[in-house]
Symmetry: C2
Subunit: 269 residues, 2 copies
């Protein structure tokens, strides 16, 4: 795939004029009725959602846990191939939150970039710089967890380190140590617009992936306002469940498209 | 599999009288000559190592990255089934370092405990308590990264929080918040015996998984001395590469067994 993560993301923002990312979290308990019980339900569902929303988004973000739980890695491979072959201007982010020592990270880099053909993979910062170097050395992008929107996100991320919360130290580590090595970004939940603005101040023009819009309660418009960079871009606003499960009958793809349009427009406003 | 992680680990320590865990990190670039190029090389290699060392260990720890890089999840499933069917007293730890919000963690719990039948899974603490609750609610064990032995481990883990390094706060979070919810443990690298002793003082009788012995340079004897609990047990000493790649010819399983015996005896001394 030509171009690194940052270049492809810049182009995706321009082509789509959208900050929206659709997260692919295919929950077998919530499959629309026409797919229920089909062995290829995960693949069919994700491809239908992808095709119904591709012109509205800058990125797709499959969450690998939903595939791994059901031994559906082969379906994920085919979904990724479908995205790359049919929607080549859309960035592909593998949401896997990898974090391991260097020799193991090399294997995860191969998984993300060679096997699935992702442009970037989400990573966990707890093991430090050498745990992400293999991803950047392989030419792919990494997006590091910084401030997450789940209830327990405070427990470590808000601990005070030399007068600052830990998540700010993580943002600075990414901006100062990791960014010179390759194409990086950070994850900050939509439910904390003020913290999003603080992270933006630390990371300059690095892209920020913002989950927590929609089902998790964050506002897309607030997230864009708080997270945008100096050019008005810079954010990838993820919505998963609110779009995926907008409809439960035969019209699930159309229902997803309607919610995706609303969310994209919220991001623009 | 009857019994929770802690009960099964206690029994494994008693049956084997060994603190040794063999890590299954099957690197296709280091396969012994007789297996080189075989499509089932990963499975054959791991099962041969397992059968050659099962009476010497308390646990096996497959590192999922080495399987995911090559689309070999089906081989990992068969290796796990082989361990459970043939060496049922040995604990099975899935080394996956999962860490995600609750709804995603439910999927990872299903992967670890239902798909692979693991007794415990390694997890990353950065997202806090709700990111691990689904694993414990599913009845499986979690082993949280605390202090890692890689070069970048210092970058976050040694940051000072209220006069203590962050990894001590993580150890306390596991002991105080997580342990009441289910069977927990922590990961502390063998290359820091003094820090291992500090973590032991925080976590009481929780098991400590200690990687970094062998190829990574830590001493097994020092790790046991520093990490043991009041009963003289409490540690799971992992060695991967030094055992797996002890031989490169037809005698790789025998060579692995010889190094495993030496390492087990180091742990006892």
């Amino acid at each position: 795939m030509p171009g690194g993560f940052h270049a492809r993301l810049q182009r995706a923002w321009e082509v789509s004029d959208s900050a929206l990312c659709v997260g692919l979290d295919p929950d077998l308990n919530r499959m629309p009725e026409p797919l229920d019980g089909r062995p290829d339900a995960i693949e069919r569902f994700c491809i239908d959602i992808v095709d119904a929303t591709a012109d509205l988004v800058c990125a797709f973000k499959p969450q690998i846990a939903y595939f791994a739980a059901h031994g559906a890695e082969d379906q994920l491979e085919r979904i990724c191939t479908h995205i790359r072959d049919n929607h080549s201007d859309v960035v592909l982010i593998l949401d896997a939150k990898r974090g391991d020592i260097g020799s193991t990270a090399e294997q995860y880099a191969r998984e993300a970039f060679n096997r699935y053909g992702a442009d970037a993979v989400t990573v966990n910062p707890y093991l430090g710089t050498d745990s992400i170097e293999p991803f950047l050395a392989a030419g792919g992008g990494v997006i590091a967890l910084c401030r997450t929107s789940n209830p327990g996100g405070d427990e470590l991320q808000m601990l005070e380190v030399e007068g600052e919360p830990l998540y700010i130290r993580v943002a600075r580590m990414v901006a100062q140590r990791w960014a010179p090595l390759g194409d990086c970004g950070v994850v900050v939940g939509a439910t904390y617009p003020r913290e999003l603005a603080r992270v933006r101040a630390e990371v300059g023009s690095l892209p920020i992936l913002v989950p927590g819009v929609g089902a998790q309660g964050g506002s897309a418009a607030d997230a864009v306002t708080s997270g945008a960079d100096a050019t008005g871009r810079g954010v990838i606003i993820n919505s998963s469940r609110a779009i995926l499960y907008a409809g439960s009958g035969a019209e699930y793809a159309e229902a997803a498209r309607r919610v995706a349009i609303t969310t994209r427009d919220d991001c623009r406003s």
